[in-house]
């Protein structure tokens, strides 16, 4: 290869470029379009009268309209959530009856009969097994409904319409319109949402999308919201309105998350991540009737089981830790009791309590296990005997029994509201933190993404608690 010849080629190109002028790009593009039109004219015949594009356009006119776009989005979200809440109830109680009421005593008896020492029996079956069983009973049914519904919507072609509707909001907040898509993925799983930000080309806008993804309420947090809304919010209104009130509360939290996402996108793009907003083309794809059973099957295999497996992998050691800290004592207090007392004061300022804060530390690996951890620790400090004893995770059969335990632990409506808020506004789970680190390759941004939501959570719950205590 001769460098001089190559220099000559480049020089010649420079010369010619001057000669042909700067409309070369347009000329070439035009030639391509002319050729394409000619080829299509030869080979394609269409009957425009019967075209389905018209139907697509009609649907789009409604679902992306200024007036109807957002109400329809909220409606679809409500329907998906409602189906998930209502549909998950029955299989959940069946699973807990099986795994917690039948298999658990069987395993404990088996352990005793084989001659396991009490600590091994407790560690394995009251710690590890129960944590896993709880996660399966509570997580599997809602996921098995939520993910396929979401995938069906995705296959149908609704997601790009969501992006289209929200585009101007994202633009105003200095972020990329495609963030609407990664935000939607975050409603399933934040780690998946963070990976999905790869569709955003500009590094600045991608960082914004990564840092704010945690404000999408993930699948591990939906059950917490649903449970607390049912127990506490649903209880303050008349019976006939209770499920409506709980649904509204859960949607309210999700929408608040979206608000914070916009707020911080805006804040970041005005401060740490200043820069141009890049434009992009978003093609609204045709609506496609999903291949129903295939979609159900693949979303069960690819999403539900993978996410469930992750939850189990983290729940098992967490169950072990909970059992250990409740049963190992320093002086005459268990580690758990000691740390709960240490955090009680700070918890009170936030309208929470020490138990809740300890539970959030134990549950860093998986948000799914927050509620069982809270229940177990509450039973321990209040000394109620409602389950299998200290350090044992349990599912309470009647919902009111759960509420009774929490109330015995000093819970009020304020506590429930603030736990719902704190569940939305706290650090991402460890998997998401690790994923953020892998995607950004930067400790600094990983730290920002981890600390930003929890600081927000402290501020918001603190303010709510103070105002509440003054007013109520």
């Amino acid at each position: 290869m001769n460098t001089k010849n190559i220099e000559n080629i480049i020089a010649l190109a420079e010369d010619l470029r001057w000669q042909i002028g700067d409309d070369f790009h347009d000329n070439l593009a035009e030639s391509i379009y002319t050729d394409a039109a000619k080829i299509v004219e030869d080979s394609v015949t269409k009957d425009n009268q019967k075209s389905k594009f018209r139907l697509d356009a009609k649907i789009d006119k409604i679902v992306t309209s200024r007036i109807w776009g957002f109400p329809i989005m909220l409606l679809i979200l409500s329907v998906v959530l409602w189906l998930t809440i209502v549909g998950a109830n029955y299989p959940s109680s069946m699973l807990s009856a099986l795994l917690l009421d039948t298999v658990h005593p069987f395993l404990k008896n088996l352990g005793t009969n084989i001659g396991f020492p009490w600590w091994l029996n407790g560690f394995l079956f009251d710690g590890v097994y129960l944590a896993v069983a709880w996660v399966i009973a509570v997580m599997l049914p809602p996921m098995a409904i939520f993910f396929p519904l979401f995938t069906l919507l995705e296959d149908f072609g609704y997601l790009p319409r969501v992006a289209f509707n929200m585009d101007s909001l994202f633009k105003k907040s200095g972020a990329h319109g495609k963030q609407a898509l990664t935000m939607s993925m975050g409603f399933g799983c934040n780690a998946a949402g963070v990976v999905a930000t790869r569709i955003i080309d500009s590094p600045r806008e991608r960082l914004i999308a990564i840092i704010t993804n945690n404000f999408s309420l993930c699948n591990g947090r939906w059950p917490t919201q649903i449970l607390l809304a049912t127990l506490f919010i649903g209880a303050v209104v008349p019976q006939s309105l209770s499920s409506f009130a709980s649904l509204t509360a859960v949607i309210g939290i999700a929408v608040l998350g979206i608000f914070f996402m916009f707020f911080f996108s805006w804040g970041l793009s005005k401060t740490l991540l200043k820069g141009e907003i890049s434009t992009f083309n978003l093609e609204l794809p045709p609506y496609r009737p999903p291949v129903f059973w295939k979609t159900i099957y693949t979303s069960l295999i690819d999403r539900t089981l993978i996410v469930l497996w992750r939850a189990i992998v983290f729940a098992a050691p967490a169950g072990a830790v909970i059992w250990l800290i409740s049963n190992i004592s320093i002086g005459n207090e268990s580690i758990a009791a000691w740390s709960i007392h240490a955090l009680d004061g700070f918890g009170f300022l936030l309208g929470l309590n020490g138990v809740i804060l300890v539970a959030y530390i134990v549950a860093i690996p998986a948000n799914e296990i927050v509620i069982p951890t809270i229940l177990m620790l509450t039973v321990m400090v209040t000394g109620i005997h409602a389950g299998a004893g200290d350090g044992v995770l349990f599912e309470l059969n009647s919902v009111t029994a759960t509420a009774d335990i929490l109330k015995a632990g000093g819970w009020t409506l304020l506590t429930a509201v603030n736990v719902m808020l704190f569940s939305l506004l706290h650090n991402p789970c460890s998997t998401t933190i690790y994923t953020i680190y892998k995607e950004t390759n930067s400790l600094k941004w990983t730290l920002v993404a981890t600390i930003l939501p929890i600081i927000t959570g402290f501020i918001v719950t603190f303010l709510i608690a103070q105002i509440w205590r003054i007013l109520v």
Binding site: I6, R17, D35, K38, D42, V44, T151, A163, L181, P285
Partner: protein, 259 residues
């Protein structure tokens, strides 16, 4: 569902060797041929990819969900094909990141065959990319996907005329329903083994003065790189002042086999 369908006349014919197909998933080492899967966003590339490799790359009805190159493989008639699913692009003429990934692979990855997946119901818009790819590589097959949608929209396509105009084989498919995939595999095999010769369409209707400059430049390029097959396309890029192509020329990327 899919397993119980009755076999078509083609599928029972001895030439139709669907039995010679083995999906290999991600086992991509020691391949005989390398295939690139290119096309506009949301034309079903990932679905075609899954149908060929047996993998379950996430698919969804929104543009841009394939964010990086996905790789997979299959064996057909004892030859191993490595398949690379490229991000969907509308064009190769600008310089966004996904277009670069796609263009660099077609240009420097030297795929044996490039499978261009297009949306049959939006052919004209999709041809923009097809015609650009055909300037870079002649060994290509047009996978006319989403035929079911075209049918529903009463769009009829004469695949013979289309194949003649483009100078490459055209295979109609509905990858979501596994239709046309055996024919696609067979066509790829014939292309890879040189049994089909292509005469790729070259962009016509270019204004005279530009055409003259392009010819002059591409002849000069051919003198320096006699083995290069896409001198005309390089000339286009140089006339546009594409700095990456200039760099690639200087570093010898066009002649080396490193990618």
């Amino acid at each position: 569902m899919m397993e119980n369908k009755t076999k078509t006349a083609c599928e029972t014919c001895t030439h139709f060797n669907a039995d010679g197909l083995k999906k290999l998933g991600v086992k991509t080492e020691d391949f005989d041929f390398i295939l690139a899967l290119a096309g506009n966003p949301n034309t079903g590339k990932s679905t075609v990819f899954n149908a060929l490799t047996g993998l379950r790359q996430h698919t969804g009805n929104w543009p841009g969900k394939t964010v990086t190159r996905a790789e997979g493989a299959y064996v057909y008639n004892n030859q191993k094909y490595k398949l690379v699913d490229l991000p969907g692009t509308y064009s190769l003429l600008s310089t966004s990141e996904d277009e670069e990934v796609a263009r660099d692979f077609i240009l420097f990855g030297k795929p044996t065959v490039t499978i261009i997946v297009v949306d049959a119901s939006r052919l004209e818009r999709n041809l923009n990319l097809v015609l650009q790819i055909l300037e870079i590589t002649g060994k290509a097959v047009l996978c006319l996907n989403l035929m079911d949608e075209a049918d529903r929209n009463n769009i009829k396509i004469d695949t013979r005329i289309l194949a003649k105009d483009l100078g490459i084989p055209v295979v109609p498919t509905s990858a979501r329903f596994q239709k046309g995939i055996p024919e696609l595999i067979q066509t790829i095999s014939e292309l890879a083994n040189g049994k089909i010769q292509c005469k790729p369409h070259r962009i016509k209707n270019i204004p005279k003065n530009i055409e003259k400059s392009v010819n002059e430049l591409s002849e000069t390029i051919e003198k320096e790189f006699p083995n290069i097959s896409n001198s005309r396309w390089i000339a286009f890029r140089l006339l546009e002042g594409d700095t990456q192509i200039i760099e690639a020329l200087k570093s010898g990327k066009f002649v080396s086999n490193e990618y």
